[in-house]
Symmetry: D2
Subunit: 320 residues, 4 copies
């Protein structure tokens, strides 16, 4: 319910306005050195400090990780014991008064209505578990997965490729600033690329790599869509555009990697993975609700997409 | 690896050109009457007999289900014992000679290259496990899940909503015929609607309903994308278009069901589910390879989308 | 529910008096040659033909395996494709009239009472799923696991070590014959030894090797107890008997392998595994019920103990 | 790997001599009031303060639970939010010098040898994860499971029934004192009874109630055996002793509950569960190693047996 993966596994806990968020990471091999720099860099990108389209609240979020178990300090390095790594990030700067209006109202498109009906109890401040704050804990685990994959020659990098219908990166900042100033919100698309994938990750029927990636991406707050290689925008292309070269001959299996996205028959084919995640406009509009809200959640989602990709692939490669 | 679900679970077996395909279904309550009519109707739609865009091979596929265990005949009715239901569908009409060219070549965009590299052994005839034939076994299980959900007031129906960029249903047949005649292939989109969903199906973090649906849909042969409610086509809309009414006031949480697709925060919100699946053009072009191939795999995928939706929701409701 | 293992996985189906029993085996590597001789030998021991303490019905049980998928014949050898291996064994010689008395009565100590109450439907003939017949399907899968382990240098062998309180093997046959002739039943103990175990199989907390073995053994019909190394009979020994040598010095960790049973802290320690399974007297007494019943189910359980051991270890080593 | 259960799930973390131990509990319904008294009482029994056969170190272990997430204080009550409950117990009174001898030696029968070989790194102080200290975290989770079961009318109680071969409870204290004074250790048996079990918990083949209980019990440190109802001591009894009354007639299915232990065919039969767990003599003898060690680990295991029983049954009933 709160766990991703079965071999490299991450269990998440914590409410956005409770005492702490955190998690338990299983499957980190004994004697792995954990590089805090990478985790800090990813947490920084997730916090969105100084980014356009991101709530000014981001500025004061200082995500300090407290390690509870599974690691020891040796010669100034953080080293894994092979036992479960538990950590927490305490919550600070909780301006609950900003959320007072929510005590009696429900935001359309936001989970608080369903929480109230399903559980009969809700933490109206900041969304409780539904808050994007929970993803900070995932990023810590994802940062470790990313390091382990790097050692295996696998590099994951995601980037924002659309803000609304705008796909020209040079125009993102202006558009995001304009949306934010008008107290509105806008959707976006994050693309992720994975280089160095070995061939054959994924199983042919029920455990396809594409299925697991889609599962992981759709678990990110506000993610409404997933596509790999050939996407919704490519419906104008026919088979002959994809599989036949200019001479009318069948291409080699690896020619058209952009279209396969690096996955065929549910398994990686040895070429880079390429997939895209769609994020809806944030449901909490500054124009309507007090508080400091993101105009475009896709901006901060970039490091979370990397995180969920790393957790998914590390788990599947551990099985594999 | 070949199992979908954990409470209402389906394990698939069989190669497209081997002796039989089939499966084992767990979680069907004792004394459930199984309506063969619905299963036959879904198998018929999956076989695509007489449909445009579908291989003529479809005409000779007669999917006859042999029940091995878990059911008894009582007064002419097929009744479940509460034990695992195993069944098989024998393979017939296997024209292996059509596939002889594949013995030495690999199709771009098709799984046979990866199979060969990963397993070192492949059934070049009809794709082995990668063949869409395997989905016939899923449809039998999905048909039972669909019946059980109907009793609970949940209705699942999918339909083809795009053939390439064409979205006018009246023009589908002509377009499909043209593509087929030119020996080419084309992508498509299947939309699925689920009415009668109770509120609260799905878990807030790792077991979101949207994650499980995406996982299931991406497991269908040729499926390259999934989106629910707000989709890739909606990037032009802003938060103010979605969450504020014409008077500038916040809408009620349930007003904008089209945009939520019936899922918020990973849980069903009590309104109908609505999601779309993207299918790529088939990789095996009649123009290039001998044999009888589908011009648009989305056509036959409609009943498989219903099947995977039924399996997913039945499994999650059994847990729930 | 009907599946053992997650990497090397076996799903069982079939009722004792239905059309067939069988199963699906996942995780057999492509190109594995399957030796039918070993499977036949294990099925033979399971059927108990000619053994004392076993129902004469055993004589007519001819377990013929029909392979449905996942294998091909190459040069007279049965070779795995890497896809799920499905098989069935058809039921024959079903003398239902022997069970007519059971239509209206419940046997004490037998599952039929609970089945009726839980499912509201029961196959009174031969116990349905509760019948030991289901274990024949397990033996097929276990036979394959055993072969794969042998290639890795791991040898599994079980034997009957007690019939009631009798532990002198020379006296077993006479005792079993006497119990059978009196229409009574008697308990027994099966000991299993595993040689060639690598060190470190099992996880320290929730996935202990001892836990998984106990889980598997208790799933065998009539198994009421499990112990490894130091057992219930050893309560007279103190720590100083076990861990200190005759000079009063601490032994080496590997000295006292009989007491550890090859497992410490939940993990294999590199010495042979040794554990024992307790079987209760059969609940169906020939003295009371018509039909042909086992006087001592432990006799036929020997190959099932080997089977469940092989399935468990193969699954844990595949993960490991 | 460190998680018990799938619906009511507990994930454990922490080393015995690290910063803290703790865990994450999933599946506690929203609005459940958590009674700290019961948890404190169970932790007290687990700590063994003042009990014979228990290390004097117990006296200084003050297990204070810090709740990190998933609960709120309302009107002085601790109430669950329905989200994962994370907690920690900080480690104090860590007399590492007592363990200095272990830096270079391995104890026979103790996991430290295997840890060193498997992981290449070990916390020689107190056994790291292998330490019984980890069970304190389980007890917190088990205490909550026990409360939830009590509300459903299910009562779990375990007790020490043998110290070595001694089964007369009146003589336990003297025997334990004598063993402790001689710096030796001794095995023991804990019996557990569960009243109020509904009929039908457990599945007939792979998810038997007996399998799950055995799995859970064997996960307790030092547990070497499990038996339910008819046990290793009952090998002298025949079927006619168990299933036929004094008149030679078949008993009713529920007559001989002591023999079934409340489980038939893998499912609860509606009578009380009764099973026994065997604990070996502790491997760390005070006579040999410095430090304060338990003479009989079965003494403190009583509340852990209750804990693992509660976790197992709560998980299976949540599924059921």
């Amino acid at each position: 319910m709160n766990t991703f993966g079965s071999h490299f596994a991450f269990t998440s806990f914590g409410e956005s306005h409770g005492r702490a968020i955190g998690g338990v990471i299983e499957g980190v091999p004994a004697k792995t050195e954990i590089y805090l720099d990478l985790i800090t860099e990813m947490l920084g990108r997730r916090s969105g400090v100084g980014m356009k389209g991101v709530s000014p609240r981001a500025m004061s979020e200082m995500d300090e990780v407290e390690w509870l178990s599974g690691v020891v300090c040796q010669d100034g390095k953080l080293v894994a014991l092979g036992t479960p790594i538990a950590f927490l990030i305490r919550n600070t700067d909780v301006r609950s008064q900003d959320y007072d209006i929510l005590k009696t109202t429900f935001r359309p498109g936001h989970a608080d209505y369903v929480y109230e009906k399903k559980y009969g109890i809700r933490d109206y401040r900041g969304g409780g578990r539904a808050s994007a704050r929970e993803t900070a804990a995932r990023v810590v685990a994802g940062g470790i997965a990313k390091q382990l994959l790097q050692k295996q020659g696998i590099e994951i990098s995601a980037r924002l490729v659309a803000v609304g219908e705008e796909t020209d990166k040079n125009k993102f900042d202006d558009l995001l600033r304009a949306v934010q100033q008008s107290g509105d919100s806008i959707g976006g698309v994050v693309e992720c690329e994975v280089k160095g994938m070995p061939l054959g990750v994924g199983e042919p029927i029920a455990d396809k790599l594409s299925s697991h990636l889609a599962f992981a991406m759709l678990s990110i707050n506000g993610c409404h869509g997933f596509e790999y290689g050939y996407g919704f925008d490519n419906l104008g292309l026919r088979g002959s555009d994809l599989y036949i070269d200019s001479e009318g001959r069948s291409r080699s299996p690896l020619d058209e990697e952009v279209m396969t996205g690096g996955i065929v028959g549910g398994m990686s084919d040895g070429t880079p993975l390429r997939f895209r995640c769609l994020f809806k406009p944030a449901a909490t509009l500054t124009r309507i609700y007090k508080g400091r809200h993101d105009a475009c959640i896709a901006v901060r989602a970039v490091s979370v997409v990397e995180t969920m990709t790393a957790l998914t692939i590390k788990d599947m490669i551990t099985e594999y």
